[in-house]
């Protein structure tokens, strides 16, 4: 992070709709030029947060500071909105040509014809849609439409860009090519960007920092790998992809490693934990190795548990295996390994995972809103 003051700063922001608190964010800072992804399930308040920051929704309490200036609490402030751009999940194009769509923000600002022409062709070029110039917005594909929406957003040279799930309704190949192009354009222009998404992989690859939102609150902010590998609590863990979440009591603690009793099994993990503590263990599915009983090889993993496969779920390039080892466990396995090991429901296997690969969360009564400013540090 740079030493310069943040471009956008949230101070004790609250938004209520019909008396219900739908957004409650004590503090959040967005640095100049950074790419921050908001990740969370549907209804987490991601869109509301973006709309509030774009001055499209009324703030109930607190304030938003943009480049040192307080953003007006009502939504009359078109002067502020002229410094930002926003792209929604739907392209929301106007019923006119592609050119006029991209020009619309500039026309609203009453810019000169020459400048409009230049800005439009520059941005159509940038998004690879120059050939669509005179086409009607009604007659282009979904992917092209979203490119037009992005070109329209960039045409006004925004100081900050808000993206509200811009890829959510595109098919995977279209999404992939647009994601690649947008990433390059954002890096090249250095536009500060706040993107809402519910796609973990999108967030992982796209962002400098990741903010996990659930129920109108930000639970954790930090670099993507850190958030995904060290979730602050089960809420975050369940969302960022740790599929196995176990709870238990510590029955033995010794020099940094400890044993947790989960059901009737003891799981070894690493951490600064005291005897009798309640802990939550998070095990990422890709860290679990499976083997078939007779021929399985010796492993350095401290946790080895025989179990039975309950369910095999195809996930595209890999399979998700749900196991019962005295506790539920989830593993990811490639199609190749699945075929080699002839895995199917009902088959007995041996699951192993390293003590160091387990993420440990101490059970404390109230953990929400921790780690807001830091880099998602756990202990």
């Amino acid at each position: 992070m740079t030493q310069s003051p943040p471009i956008l700063e949230i101070k004790s922001l609250q938004v209520r709709k019909g008396g219900i608190l739908i957004l409650d964010i004590p503090a959040l800072q967005i640095e100049e030029g950074e790419l921050l992804s908001l990740i969370g399930p549907n209804g987490a308040g991601k869109s509301t947060l973006l709309q509030t920051l774009a001055s499209l929704t009324k703030v109930s309490a607190g304030e938003i500071v943009f480049k040192g200036e307080r953003v007006a609490a009502d939504h009359g402030g078109f002067a502020y909105r002229r410094r930002l751009s926003m792209v929604f999940q739907d392209p929301l194009l106007f019923d006119t040509t592609v050119f006029e769509n991209v020009a619309s923000g500039l026309r609203i600002r009453r810019m000169k014809k020459k400048e409009i022409n230049r800005a439009v062709s520059e941005n159509l070029e940038r998004f690879g849609i120059a050939h669509l110039l005179q086409r009607s917005a009604r007659k282009i594909s979904g992917g092209e439409a979203q490119r037009v929406a992005l070109a329209r957003a960039f045409a006004t040279k925004p100081e900050i860009l808000f993206l509200d799930e811009p890829f959510a309704s595109l098919d995977p190949p279209t999404r992939e090519s647009l994601l690649t192009d947008l990433e390059a354009i954002l890096r090249q222009t250095g536009t500060t960007t706040l993107m809402a998404t519910h796609d973990r992989m999108e967030a992982l690859r796209f962002s400098d920092r990741l903010a996990v939102m659930i129920g109108g609150k930000i639970f954790q902010v930090g670099p993507p790998y850190e958030v995904m590998n060290h979730p602050l609590d089960e809420f975050v863990a369940s969302f960022v992809g740790v599929e196995t979440i176990l709870e238990g009591t510590v029955v033995k603690a010794d020099q940094g490693s400890f044993l947790t009793l989960v059901g009737e099994k003891e799981i070894e993990a690493v951490g600064d934990i005291v005897l009798g503590d309640r802990v939550t263990l998070c095990i990422r599915p890709e860290n679990v190795t499976l083997a078939v009983p007779p021929g399985h090889q010796a492993t350095s993993a401290r946790n080895v548990f025989p179990g039975v496969i309950e369910k095999v779920v195809p996930m595209g390039l890999y399979y998700k295996i749900q196991l019962q080892c005295g506790f539920p466990l989830v593993a990811y396995i490639t199609t190749h390994s699945l075929e080699n090991l002839k895995l199917k429901a009902g088959k007995e296997v041996v699951a192993s995972f390293k003590a160091t690969s387990i993420h440990v969360v101490k059970r404390e009564p109230c953990q929400e809103s921790q780690g807001l400013k830091g880099g998602g540090e756990t202990n």
Binding site: L56, F78, L84, S85, L92, I108, S136, T156
Partner: protein, 232 residues
């Protein structure tokens, strides 16, 4: 059968020779209904847009009122306009009963709720986030409303057509407040009623054909609008 065929033959003769009486009635019809539609557009689009874009208590009631107004029976409108314009009625001082002005007033009353209701539906059927998108593009509130109305221009055109179609084919109110005075307040529909009652089927059929052609063009435009796609 002979009566009908002869009637149709004579009707086409009147049409192709541009019979002055038939043309006069047609022109007056277009003038009166056109003016009434224009007034209803000003009232209907502004109020319809305002109701569509604002939240206020009793909004649902207002919307249901507008929707009811879309099916206002012309005879009832004719009755009330007549009462209002009657010599000692509330608007009697205007002295416009049995004039084209009274017909324009009555027709505007009929067409306004139609235009208003269609405007309301058209603006509301725009994507919910479109308003936010326009504001996010830096628009002021006035700019936003202007862009929204422009986006709804096709359904609004449908409103224009429906309003015009409603009043040009309406007979009850026109005959009641206009009086069907020859060369002054006689329009296509009232003339058709009169000529039919007199047994002048040739002129009645000629007038009927003109009405049908107008109705056809209105529906052609409406169909064209309905078949268009919205942009993504």
């Amino acid at each position: 059968m002979g009566l009908i065929l002869e009637g149709i033959y004579k009707a086409f003769y009147l049409l192709f020779t541009l019979d002055p009486e038939v043309m006069g009635v047609t022109l007056l019809s277009l003038q009166i209904s056109g003016t009434a539609t224009l007034i209803s557009l000003m009232m209907g689009i502004s109020v319809g847009t305002a109701v569509a874009l604002t939240e206020f208590p009793g909004r649902k009631f207002v919307v249901s009122l507008i929707n009811t107004g879309m099916g206002l029976p012309p005879v009832v409108v004719g009755l009330f306009v007549t009462i209002f314009l009657w010599r000692n009625g509330p608007l009697g001082f205007l002295e416009i009963l049995y004039t084209p002005a009274a017909m324009i007033l009555a027709q505007a009353v009929i067409a306004t709720p139609i235009v208003m209701g269609i405007t309301l539906a058209a603006i509301q059927s725009l994507p919910r986030n479109l308003r936010l998108q326009i504001l996010a593009l830096g628009a002021t509130r006035i700019q936003m409303v202007r862009i929204l109305v422009k986006e709804a221009k096709l359904p609004l055109l449908a409103g224009v057509m429906a309003g015009f179609g409603g009043v040009i084919s309406e007979v009850g109110a026109s005959i009641m407040v206009g009086g069907n005075i020859k060369g002054y307040s006689r329009v296509l529909t009232t003339a058709t009623v009169m000529e039919t009652s007199r047994g002048n089927f040739d002129i009645a059929i000629a007038l009927g054909i003109i009405l049908l052609i107008l109705a056809y063009f209105i529906n052609l435009v409406l169909t064209h609008i309905q078949q268009r796609e919205r942009p993504r």
